[in-house]
């Protein structure tokens, strides 16, 4: 028993050392003038951006060219132009729902433009810009399932993506209609699609723009749309100067009509 308690002590002390280590780092970085961090990006000469690589039209690695392209990549370029004066001075890094938070915290990326829905809870951890795109949650079902509306999903299982806000939105909607639905969460979109094909889930539900990439001959998107979700650009909480530049750029893109042009370019809305 002595040995166990010694081992536990070691483990706990490592964790607490980690905790205090983190907090002291935060202090020093927030004490610094946060415009220093913008200066650091300028000195580095490149803006590091986390984007999706599996969402067509938003952030997608084109298998033919090997380039990552999409609406969100273009927005990232606009911000790079604002900070560094050259839209090509960006370094794109593939992120998933699971990695985008930790990558921001560790400083591996300066900002994340990756179909990132703004929520109150997330705002506590990161700075979010104002919304650059609003998308509603859609429902994809098999044609032969006989499901024609959200109501028909009573007692069924809905496949959703981890870290997506669609689960909360659908639950609220289900409560309103007085039906019960169950959820199964998966780490990636192809996994949900596989579960739909094998009949593990009766419905595949993510943001509509993402969903449209997964429609096949045997599946269809229901007309129901729920809970518009606002996408924002996330950056590190204590780097307020960068957050302001990002936010200003989005406002500018909105007011001069560039954002609408980009949406058109990628066939959104």
């Amino acid at each position: 028993m002595k040995k166990i308690s010694i081992i536990l002590m070691i483990i706990l002390s490592v964790i607490f050392a980690g905790l205090t280590g983190c907090s002291s780092e935060e202090k020093t970085s927030s004490e610094q003038n946060s415009s220093d961090e913008v200066q650091a990006i300028k000195d580095r000469g490149v803006l590091k951006v986390g984007v999706k690589v599996d969402v067509p039209n938003f952030g997608y690695k084109n298998p033919e060219t090997g380039e990552i392209e999409g609406f969100e990549v273009d927005i990232a370029k606009a911000i790079a132009k604002k900070i560094l004066g050259d839209e090509n001075k960006i370094e794109l890094q593939a992120v998933t729902a699971k990695t985008r938070g930790p990558l921001l915290d560790s400083g591996e990326v300066d900002m994340v433009v990756a179909t990132f829905t703004i929520t109150e809870e997330r705002k506590k951890s990161y700075n979010f810009s104002e919304s650059y795109y609003t998308d509603a949650v859609g429902l994809l079902v098999k044609k032969d399932s006989g499901i024609k509306s959200f109501k028909d999903l009573d007692g069924k299982t809905i496949g959703v993506a981890q870290s997506a806000t669609s689960k909360t939105a659908l639950q609220e909607e289900a409560d309103k209609l007085g039906i019960t639905v169950e959820f199964a969460e998966f780490a990636s979109y192809p996994e949900i699609n596989a579960a739909l094909t094998s009949g593990r889930v009766d419905c595949f539900s993510v943001d509509g723009s993402i969903l449209s990439g997964y429609v096949s001959d045997s599946t269809e998107i229901l007309p129901d749309k729920f809970a518009p979700q606002d996408y924002g650009i996330a950056s590190k909480k204590d780097n307020t100067a960068l957050a302001k530049i990002i936010d200003d750029t989005i406002k500018e893109l909105k007011s001069n009509g560039e954002l609408d042009k980009l949406k058109e370019k990628w066939g959104l809305q």
Partner: protein
């Protein structure tokens, strides 16, 4: 204060503790049932693999090699997505968890059992058979009890690994501890405290298991020391200090 381990994230974690409790109980249930299945399969196929009858040996080899040389993740996904498509069999996801880790570790345990049996002098089996035991009785009453001391340490490894491998359920929406943690951590992005707590919860299952096995090892060792003759005694001491 911000950062991955900010205090408000811990507070949110404690408020939602029931989610982690549910996951913990699922992991515990799947682990216990999976371990029972793994032991049954392991002993059965382990004994088959030392049989003199070729076909039994062959069956056991196929099982062990096939399972040991394919990833657990693929086996689980096959049970989850493959079976409904191929055979129209839709197993409940927790059953899949028990089957997946049970069959997977059963193959490893079969090898442990085979090694254990082979460490016992052939004369023991011959003597048992000549006394009128049948093959399975001889195994049950004569060979396996002696092989236990050799098998226990690697068996503990397998049991602990089995508990950790139940986290494969996280990939197929199994509702286990890892799944709940992924879900909670990614929804709120409060991943820091979530994964620390989950690591500790796995430790809470695995550490006592390892300790219990260590204790059993000691008891066995003492028993043998008391009952075996002087020669055996020296042999064991050497092994223990080596």
């Amino acid at each position: 204060m911000t950062g991955p381990f900010a205090w408000f994230k811990w507070e949110a974690l404690f408020k939602d503790w029931a989610i982690f409790k549910d996951g913990f109980l699922t992991t515990l249930t799947v682990s216990i049932l999976g371990l029972a299945l793994a032991l049954i399969l392991g002993i059965f196929f382990g004994v088959l693999s030392v049989s003199k009858i070729k076909i039994f040996k062959f069956i056991s080899r196929v099982y062990v090699e096939f399972i040991q040389n394919t990833p657990l993740v693929i086996q689980a996904i096959f049970l989850y997505n493959g079976l409904p498509l191929i055979a129209n069999i839709v197993l409940p996801v927790k059953t899949i968890g028990v089957l997946a880790v049970g069959i997977y570790h059963g193959a490893y345990i079969a090898e442990v059992v085979r090694a254990g049996i082979m460490s016992i002098n052939k004369g023991q089996l011959e003597a048992a058979l000549s006394q009128g035991f049948n093959y399975w009785e001889a195994m049950r009453y004569i060979i396996l009890p002696q092989a236990r001391i050799v098998m226990l340490p690697p068996l503990t490894n397998q049991a602990v690994n089995l508990v950790k491998n139940t986290s494969v359920l996280a990939m197929i929406a199994g509702g286990d501890l890892m799944y709940r943690t992924d879900s909670w951590a990614n929804e709120k992005l409060y991943y820091g405290p979530a994964y620390v707590l989950t690591g500790l919860l796995y430790l809470i299952i695995c550490l006592p298991l390892a300790t219990l096995a260590k204790r059993l090892e000691k008891v066995n060792f003492n028993n043998i020391n008391r009952t075996e003759d002087e020669e055996m005694n020296i042999g064991c001491d050497k092994e223990a200090t080596a």
